[in-house]
């Protein structure tokens, strides 16, 4: 149904160029549309390194590789990295955007790749290996200057154990993972799913959700949904300057905030920690990471 023009729409403002890609189209069509567009408009771009914002796209390594390959061979631009800031999440489900700083000169003289069929085979192969994690690690594809789709297909699987482990889900135990540091407010509708600890330097508003395999620390008000230890770790904790969330989850245990804000005065204000004890979620005033928490409020609604 979709033609190349409707799948990929390009618009510019200032020095930025936005590629808006229709997410509802199958990946094969997107790949073809992107390539057709770049072929048609060859000469519009000059050399430069661009970042590809994958938006809310949960692309597989193969698909990212193919997109990088298409952009690089057809436009002469170099894809420096793929990224996907938390603010983008959910934002325009289906925006993939490239931002280029300059682009007026002829440069693209890469070989034309054979079309769509690759895309389809990639898509089939990658169905259950979809990236679950928001922050794409530095693209492993960068080390593959060889613009051969087949190599792109295999290499990320073999040469990057940490990605494999993240795909495997719960196998992150023992693997040092970096904490994800978020400096902007999590707003309603934004969500993040990360395979390590998450630190938020702002508020988490109602309607936002954070899912982390590790701990969650919020330097602000936690009013949205938070799920720590999402891979089943009941030792994970949630710490917030203000614990106002109606529902938190640690490992498999869900905690519902008490309906009335009763309790001792110390529970009214100040930082809190949520932890699991005897299969229930408790919240206590925060008194340091290594304190033994005993008396807390049971979060059972």
């Amino acid at each position: 149904m979709a033609t190349s023009t409707s799948v990929v729409q390009v618009s510019g403002r200032g020095s930025n160029v936005d590629f808006t890609i229709d997410d509802s189209a199958p990946f094969k069509e997107i790949a073809k549309g992107l390539r057709d567009y770049l072929v048609k408009n060859r000469g519009l771009w000059s050399e430069g390194i661009i970042g590809v914002n994958a938006g809310r796209w949960m692309l597989s390594q193969e698909q990212l590789g193919l997109i990088k390959h298409i952009i690089e061979t057809e436009s002469g631009l170099r894809v420096g990295r793929f990224w996907s800031p938390p603010g983008r999440l959910e934002a325009f489900s289906g925006d993939a955007e490239t931002v280029s700083s300059k682009g007026e000169d002829e440069q693209g003289t890469g070989p034309i790749v054979q079309d769509g069929t690759n895309g389809s085979s990639h898509q089939v192969l990658s169905h259950n290996q979809v990236h679950k994690y928001v922050n794409l690690p530095e693209p492993p594809l960068e080390e593959t200057p060889e613009p051969d789709p087949d190599i792109l297909l295999i290499q990320p699987e073999t040469s990057h154990p940490e990605i494999k482990s993240s795909k495997a889900g719960s196998s992150s135990k023992g693997m040092p993972t970096q904490a994800l540091f978020v400096k902007t407010t999590f707003r309603s509708g934004e969500s993040i799913n990360y395979h390590g600890d998450v630190v938020v330097l702002a508020d988490v508003n109602p309607g936002a959700e954070i899912i982390a395999e590790g701990d969650i620390v919020v330097f602000g008000s936690l009013r949205g949904m938070a799920h720590a230890g999402s891979a089943g770790d009941t030792k994970a904790v949630i710490i917030a300057l203000e614990m106002d969330s109606p529902r938190i989850q640690i490992g498999p245990h869900t905690g519902l905030a008490p309906l009335s804000k009763s309790g001792s005065k110390s529970m009214l204000n100040g930082p809190k920690i949520a932890y699991v004890k005897r299969r229930s979620v408790y919240v206590s005033p925060y008194a340091g990471r290594f304190t033994r928490y005993s008396r807390g409020i049971l979060y059972e609604g």
Binding site: A91, T184, S188, N205, G207
Partner: protein
């Protein structure tokens, strides 16, 4: 001349986007600017009604974009006589009749001749919203002090930030100082602390806003209306003038507990 394109949006419907658009547009025109207001709520147009220009519509936004008419043929001169023009929405079409690029081109063209292009955004976050925000450089969020409106405003702010819009500014509409005093309505400070954006203005709940809209005369023309005065101050702030945020007084003449800008201690306005 390079004008500014500002979208007025909210997420939730019925919080006063259209009223705000009409009044800020009129306010800016009263300050001597050339202003175009565009109703992008295709299929549910009502900016024309609020401005009292319904019976002058010949061409609409979709006609302009489809090339049926020239831009200035669709622009309706406001009856106040100020340099204020309305491009009405099409009522018989839907949001998919236009796309972001077309609207962006139109706004870019209008910016050459006008100081301000204000867009009344449809409620929701679907195609109509995307059209409107893609064409604007700035955004004004309208909300009321209600949990549902604030939740939607929060979502919209997130989407605007994701679209790399300059810092959106907030108008809190329909504040009822009596209810705030009784603790039945969210305080302006609570709203701001949750949404974490700059406040552009506070508008009190005012029956005159409704009468004015029904008469098709924006409330800024009403010298006695507190909401009209609030919108005039908002227009001044949009224009870059430093106007301190207003204290919202309850009808009994007592100061509500709204905190003003700097230097005003909230307790100074508390009363026994």
């Amino acid at each position: 001349m390079k004008g500014r394109t500002i979208v007025i949006t909210s997420g939730k419907g019925g919080v006063g986007k259209t009223t705000a658009t009409a009044n800020i547009g009129t306010g800016l025109a009263m300050r001597g600017h050339k202003v175009v207001v565009i109703d992008t709520d295709i299929g549910l147009r009502n900016l024309d009604v609020v401005m009292g220009l319904e019976n002058r519509i010949v061409y609409d936004l979709v006609n302009v974009i489809e090339g049926v008419c020239k831009v200035n043929q669709a622009m309706i001169h406001d009856k106040s006589g100020y340099e204020l023009y309305l491009i009405p929405a099409a009522q018989t079409r839907d949001k998919n009749s236009i796309d972001p690029e077309q609207l962006r081109d139109l706004c870019a063209k209008l910016e050459e001749d006008y100081d301000y292009v204000l867009m009344d955004c449809p409620a929701g976050i679907e195609q109509g919203f995307k059209n409107a925000i893609s064409a604007a450089q700035e955004a004004i969020i309208v909300t009321t002090p209600e949990v549902s409106a604030i939740r939607d405003a929060d979502r919209v702010i997130g989407l605007l930030e994701a679209a790399e819009m300059q810092r959106p500014k907030l108008i809190i509409n329909r504040i009822n100082p009596d209810m705030v005093k009784r603790g039945d309505m969210m305080d302006q400070r609570d709203v701001v602390s949750l949404l974490a954006v700059e406040v552009l203005g506070l508008v009190p709940a005012d029956e005159r806003t409704i009468t004015a809209a029904n008469k098709g005369v924006p409330v800024v023309h009403d010298k006695k209306a507190p909401s009209g005065a609030a919108f005039l101050r908002i227009a001044a702030r949009v224009d870059g003038e430093e106007v301190p945020l207003m204290e919202i007084e309850s009808k009994s003449g007592l100061m509500a507990k709204f905190k003003g800008l700097i230097g005003i201690n909230g307790s100074a306005y508390s009363h026994a």
